[in-house]
C-alpha cells in the first residue's frame, strides 16, 4: 500500500509539473484577486475583521479553482478507469489528498505575502498568522478532496464543486477568519488552530470510510 501511495503521489506531481494547470489557475486567481482588492481599497485603512474576511475569501475561491482539478482531470481525460485498475482506492485518495494539501500550501504561500504587502497589513503575531493560514488551508484541502471525486463522477465543473463544498468548508472557514482576525490584532489563536487540525482529521477519517463507495463504479 505504501508503494502504491508513493507511486500515485509521484505520478500526480510529475503530471502537474509538466502541465502546471491546477497551480497556475489557482495562483493566477489568487494574484489577480489580491491585486484587485488592494486597488479597490486604495490605501484605506481596513479593520482587522475586514482583512481577515478578505484574506480568506481570496484563499477560498483560489482553492475552489484548483482543488477539484485533481479528480476532474482523471474523468475528463479518461484515465480514471486506468487508475481504478492499477491502484487501490485508498492509495488513490491518499495521493490526491497529499496533492491538494500541496496546492493549498502553494496558494497560501503566494497569497500571504501578496496580501500583506499590497494591503499593507500590520500583523501583531506573524507566527500565529502563518499557523492559522496553514491549519485553515489544510482543513479546506481535507474537507474537499472527497467532494472533488463526487463532482468528477457527476461530470460537474467548477461551480458545482464550489456549491457542494461551501457547507462543508463553512465551519473551518469561519474559525479561520476569527483566528486570523485575532492573530492580526495580537490575540490568541491556539484553540482555533486545534479545532482546525481536529476538523481536518475528522474529515479525512470520514473521507477514507466513504471513498470506496464514491470511487468504485455502480
Amino acid at each position: 500500500m505504501i508503494e502504491a501511495i508513493l507511486a500515485n503521489i509521484a505520478k500526480d506531481f510529475r503530471i502537474e509539473f509538466r502541465r502546471r494547470f491546477a497551480v497556475n489557475v489557482a495562483l493566477s486567481f489568487a494574484a489577480i484577486t489580491t491585486l484587485a482588492v488592494s486597488l479597490t481599497a486604495g490605501g484605506a485603512r481596513l479593520e482587522t475583521r475586514t482583512h481577515a474576511l478578505l484574506f480568506w475569501i481570496i484563499i477560498f475561491f483560489s482553492a475552489m479553482n484548483g482543488l477539484s482539478h485533481v479528480f476532474t482531470r482523471e474523468e475528463e481525460e479518461g484515465t480514471a478507469l486506468f487508475l481504478r485498475t492499477t491502484s487501490p482506492e485508498l492509495a488513490v485518495f491518499t495521493a490526491k489528498l497529499v496533492f491538494n494539501m500541496a496546492v493549498m500550501a502553494v496558494i497560501a504561500a503566494a497569497v500571504v505575502p501578496l496580501y500583506v504587502f499590497f494591503l499593507n497589513v500590520e500583523i501583531a503575531s506573524p507566527g500565529r498568522f502563518a499557523l492559522v493560514a496553514c491549519a485553515g488551508s489544510a482543513a479546506i484541502a481535507s474537507s474537499t478532496t472527497a467532494l472533488g471525486a463526487i463532482v468528477a463522477r457527476a461530470g460537474g465543473r467548477g461551480s458545482l464543486f464550489t456549491i457542494i463544498s461551501f457547507p462543508v468548508v463553512l465551519p473551518p472557514l469561519w474559525v479561520s477568519i476569527k483566528a486570523t482576525q485575532s492573530s492580526i490584532a495580537g490575540g490568541g489563536a491556539a484553540q482555533s488552530i486545534v479545532f482546525l487540525l481536529a476538523f481536518s482529521g475528522a474529515l479525512v477519517a470520514v473521507s477514507y470510510m466513504l471513498f470506496g463507495h464514491i470511487w468504485i463504479e455502480e
Partner: protein, 217 residues
C-alpha cells in the same frame, strides 16, 4: 519465452485462480443492460464475451474485474482457494480496454513504472514486453505522441506486466495492424496455460482464441 517475459528468476509460481459468476444482471435506471448471466472460468481456461453493440460486454468485463458492482447476482474470485476482493483482486487482475487510458503526460515507460509500483510488481518485467510488442524504441516518448496502434500495444503491456491470474481483454485487436494482431495471438498462446482469460469482442477471429463463449443479447 513465457518465463523470459514474466520472470527474472528461474521458477514460476504455480497458481489456481477461479471466477464464479451467478445470475448477474445490470441495469442503468430503466435500461436493462443484461440479465441472468452465469459463467465460470479458471486458470488455463478462456471465455469470449460476445454480443451486439450495447449488449453489455464492457460492463460485464468491469464486473469481472471487480471495478463495477453488479445490479443483481453474485461474483466470486479465488486464488489458491483464498477469496479475493479489493486490493487483493486488483493485484491479480489485468484489464485492457478502449476505456482504459494511460496518461498522455507520461512516457510509455513512466506509465509502466507507475502501474508496476502501484500493483507491487517489478518494473523490470516490462523490458521484454516492450521488445515483444515492438515498442522498445518508443518507451521514452510521451504517450501523447503514440499512434492509436502503439497505445493499444502499451495497454496490453500494462495489463500483463504484473503476470495477472485473470486477464480481461476488451476488443484487444482494436487499432492493431496485422503484425500487432499476430503478436497478440502469439502472446495469448504464451500465457493461457497460467491465466484465466476473458476476451470481449465482436471479432470472430478474436473470439476463436477462447475455448468457451458467453453470449449477451
Amino acid at each position: 519465452m513465457s518465463r523470459r517475459i514474466f520472470c527474472t528468476t528461474s521458477t514460476m509460481t504455480v497458481r489456481s485462480f477461479s471466477l464464479d459468476a451467478v445470475s448477474l444482471s445490470k441495469s442503468y435506471g430503466r435500461t436493462r443492460v443484461f440479465e441472468n448471466v452465469s459463467f465460470s472460468i479458471a486458470t488455463g481456461e478462456s471465455a469470449a464475451f460476445t454480443g451486439p453493440n450495447g449488449s453489455g460486454k464492457s460492463t460485464l468485463c468491469d464486473i469481472a474485474a471487480g471495478i463495477r458492482r453488479p445490479g443483481r447476482g453474485t461474483i466470486s474470485h479465488y486464488l489458491n482457494g483464498a477469496p479475493l476482493q479489493g486490493e487483493s483482486l486488483l493485484r491479480v487482475t489485468g484489464l485492457a480496454a478502449p476505456r482504459v487510458n494511460p496518461y498522455d503526460e507520461l512516457t510509455g515507460m513512466e506509465n509502466v513504472r507507475f502501474a508496476a509500483r502501484a500493483r507491487g510488481a517489478d518494473p523490470l518485467t516490462a523490458a521484454p514486453l516492450f521488445e515483444f510488442f515492438g515498442l522498445a524504441r518508443h518507451r521514452d516518448k510521451l504517450l501523447r505522441h503514440y499512434s492509436s496502434g502503439m497505445r493499444q500495444r502499451l495497454k496490453l503491456i500494462l495489463s500483463v506486466l504484473h503476470d495477472p491470474a485473470l486477464l480481461i481483454l476488451d476488443e484487444p485487436g482494436a487499432n492493431l495492424d496485422d503484425e500487432g494482431r499476430w503478436k497478440l495471438a502469439e502472446f495469448i498462446e504464451l500465457i493461457r496455460a497460467r491465466t484465466a482469460l476473458i476476451i470481449a469482442t465482436n471479432d470472430r477471429d478474436e473470439a476463436a482464441l477462447c475455448s468457451s463463449e458467453v453470449r449477451l443479447d
